[in-house]
Symmetry: C2
Subunit: 254 residues, 2 copies
Amino acid sequence: MTGRLTVVGLGPGDARFVTPEADAALAAAEAVYGYGPYLDRVPVRPGQARLASDNREELARAGAALDHAARGATVAIVSGGDPGVFAMAAAVCEAIETGPGAWRDLDLAIVPGITAMLAVAARVGAPLGHDFCAVSLSDNLKPFAVIERRLAAAADAGFVIALYNPVSRARPTQLGAAFATLAEHLPPSTPVIFGRAVGRDGETVTVVELGRATETPADMATLIIVGSAATRTVDRPGRPPLVYTPRSDAGGKA
Amino acid sequence: MTGRLTVVGLGPGDARFVTPEADAALAAAEAVYGYGPYLDRVPVRPGQARLASDNREELARAGAALDHAARGATVAIVSGGDPGVFAMAAAVCEAIETGPGAWRDLDLAIVPGITAMLAVAARVGAPLGHDFCAVSLSDNLKPFAVIERRLAAAADAGFVIALYNPVSRARPTQLGAAFATLAEHLPPSTPVIFGRAVGRDGETVTVVELGRATETPADMATLIIVGSAATRTVDRPGRPPLVYTPRSDAGGKA
């Protein structure tokens, strides 16, 4: 009997963002694993086991779900956003690579979801309308010097930059350092978008200039988009400004 | 009377990927604008106008939909994938910036969707599991030298790279040139994923090494993901290999 593990992306918030494919995968699962707050978004189904774990325990969670599936069960792991973007899909692949051979025999499926940068971008216009990148600011898993080098390279090359995991209690200073690095490579007027809890209760979206970005509060529920030199702001009377990056692009900073 | 324009992302393929938010926006629209093949994915609703236009006419389509909404109507424009990623949302913002002042008074909403790179990544594992970027290879709207500079910078900095719009009849040579540039900055063994028509009839997903990437056919329905130096392949007996980029990252090429 071959088990099945599906890694399911829930999107950034409530049920509006959950695709029919994700719904079907959750309905088919005998057991659902996940970080508690993500699991809380999954409708309770009679007879379906729910196994919550802490945010820091991605590899252990992946192993537990794989082990469960290897015993012949149909198992789901949930991620907020998209499971392939700084989330559970890579942890599951890593567990498979280093784990028992039986885990390579499982039916593995990954169900994509709306990742946070797409939801935040949609709130303000089209800041990701041209070439862009996504960088995790967490230095739990990479040196901060690598992060700073990537930010500088991306800004110089004209990429719009989405910052995931911008700050946590254990890492209070990285975001300020990241903005300082970016300020060396981009004009102070570059638009910076702070999207907090987008798609959930208490959503806030704030647009500031890079020169004042360090004054804006952020936490782990915040996704930040830093424009390129080409990103534009369009004022609208009585409405928040639009922020977009034009489809045509002369190339930014040389 | 204030009109409303909603730019709706349909995701990469069939109804499995259409979020409830997108469904609701389409159901509420009096008129739906879009490139023909995307419009064909929208269920026909009695009394709802459907206005198809050609792929090259993004700005004209945006203007027509804005003009329609400015007459007080509830209008939707559809995009494949996510409307904010190389798609209609930027064209709508550009039209608003340069068009009549009344267009700034409209209710504008953007509904995110699953963009192609997320769907392709999900098919093979987690190639976007760490820092990544998205680059359009179309040089209709930017010089190819800018594209080559971005690819080199992204590869050197350790980003996984998703290539949108890799080739068209009018641009048969760019993709080969892009692979040649990338080969100067990445090992020949770097995994390259070709996802064609993912989520639709005739889906194919192929994983090759960068050294052989030019031998693999691609067209405008193809989304290509080029790994970083950290991206790994996990063989599975009797199944296609997994491709993933580990969550921890020492920084790639110095």
